[in-house]
């Protein structure tokens, strides 16, 4: 194939071939070494974890199904009670969803300001960009359960500490996601608005928000799904809602497994429901933008 050349500039094809092959060989060597290190780390990490584990992974493995079997069989025996229990725990579900909704709303507003103040080109005080970025880093770095435990210690149990804890985490992570969207926003409208003498807030409201709104709403809906799960989990540490009831039902052990099953059904159904609704709206928002 190489005998007829279009350019005639076959300036040492052999040397190009050999140098490229050497490069390929080097790349393969590095790739192989990386794979080897990865496998070694995985295996050694697993054995260490298995050694430290009190029960032992292999001894416990066959018991994994025992607890779900207990719960399911007992719930099945008392399946007649389930509808009543579902109704009984519905208010707790409403509380859980409420915590998620309020904290998503507050967190989204917080995240909006964190992102606008922490994005180059948009920030009101460009020198403080780093500060706001670190602030949102810290807010999302601290697990919500830690914040909730501290707040429950200070404020006592109930939905408010959970709400504050989730809102803080949400503001931090949405701030990060929002600022990635607004980094790609077109800055020309901003210049136009600035030339009319509009304040920073007005410029953001009119110049940036319409551009980024579909993505922002989409991320917020995703966060809402995550927050429903988070608020159910926070119930375990005494923040009220469905998680609290679930912990009680599970802690009291056999005899109340039907209640645990009813709560599982509620929680599972809710999460699936909100997942579906929000993914449909998110699809519509992102597709609508493309049109």
């Amino acid at each position: 194939m190489a005998d007829v050349s279009l350019s005639g500039a076959s300036l040492g094809v052999d040397s190009i071939q050999s140098s490229y092959l050497a490069q390929v060989q080097r790349r393969r060597l590095y790739g192989g070494l990386t794979l080897l290190i990865f496998i070694v780390l995985m295996v050694s990490g697993f054995t260490i974890a298995d050694d430290r584990n009190a029960g032992g992974f292999w001894n416990g493995l066959h018991q994994v199904g025992d607890y779900p079997t207990d719960v399911l069989s007992e719930a099945w025996e008392q399946r007649a009670d389930l509808p009543g229990l579902v109704v009984k725990y519905f208010p707790a579900l409403v509380e859980t969803v409420n915590i998620a909704a309020v904290s998503t709303l507050i967190g989204a507003i917080g995240g909006l300001f964190l992102s606008l103040l922490g994005t180059r080109g948009l920030a009101k005080w460009p020198r403080l960009i780093l500060l706001f970025r670190r602030l949102s880093d810290i807010m999302r770095a601290v697990p919500e359960i830690v914040v909730a435990l501290v707040l429950i210690f200070v404020l006592g149990g109930g939905p408010v500490p959970a709400m504050i804890a989730i809102a803080i985490h949400t503001a931090g992570s949405l701030g990060k996601m929002f600022s990635e969207v607004s980094e790609n926003a077109d800055l020309k409208p901003l210049e136009g608005l600035e030339s009319t003498g509009a304040t920073w807030f007005k410029r953001m409201l009119i110049g940036i928000l319409p551009q980024v709104a579909p993505n922002y709403v989409s991320y917020t809906l995703l966060r809402f799904e995550i927050n429903i799960r988070a608020s159910a989990i926070l119930g375990f540490v005494g923040a009220g809602g469905l998680g609290y009831e679930l912990r009680n039902a599970m802690a009291w052990g056999p005899g109340r497994f039907d209640e645990a099953a009813a709560i599982f059904i509620l929680l599972f159904g809710t999460i699936v429901f909100f997942d579906q609704v929000s993914s449909r709206y998110r699809n519509r928002l992102t597709e609508g933008q493309a049109q």
Binding site: M1, S5, L6, I16, L21, R27, R28, G31
Partner: protein, 271 residues
Amino acid sequence: MLKIDMLTKRFGDKTAVDAANIFVSEPTMIGIIGRSGAGKSTLLRMLNRLSDATTGTITFQGESITTLKGAAKRDWQSRCAMIFQQFNLVPRMDVVSNVLHGTLNKRSTFATMFNLYPQADIHKAIEILDRLGIAEQAPKRAEALSGGQQQRVAIARALMQDPKIILADEPIASLDPMNAQVVMQSLRSIHEEDGRMVIANLHTLDTARRYCDRVIGMRDGRIVFDGTPAQLTTGVARDIYGAGADFSEAATSTEIETLDRPEVRKAEAYV
């Protein structure tokens, strides 16, 4: 050799290609001309099976192409290479890897994951690049190359497939005149030296005239002209483009030499 029979493609109520009939008996260099939206790209995409025909058949050497599925369809695609207007390379990978992508149909997924191309293929890829005059660019990332060089990498990828047919969808539409000439010259010599069939969508008449043995004109999805470049008179061209009497071939030209021809300056005065 290649027979296209009543090939039709509809998008909703819009007919992109309307009952196209083309018969090619031997490897030829064919240029398809027509306005944008005339169905040229759709026709090529159906040939490569990037999109499915609504009705009609394509037959190549006795094999029905339109009914192929799964692995057989991918095998056909490996025998029928395609070159795109925007090159469609993987920008972050190096030039040789991009050329080696031409062999993907023959490689296992495992070999692809770990980049295990045989040494013979790597040598062949660099030889093809050398044939196209860009062997020096071999280790660079595709995105670091100029448009003309990228299009030649795309041609190299097509050659790596060792195809019977090369389809080129507006291969020079995003190139400057110099690079356009190099790319068209490459396609022409691939046709002449390797005896491969080349079908190219072209947006300028003089390119089709200069490089092709046969010209097909499309208008609103229909084939309205099929003949030699000599048969393509100005009147026919006006028909294909649906243009008025002020239409001049030279006005659309991207050739450098046209600037030296007096009739062009006159034509450009009209524009």
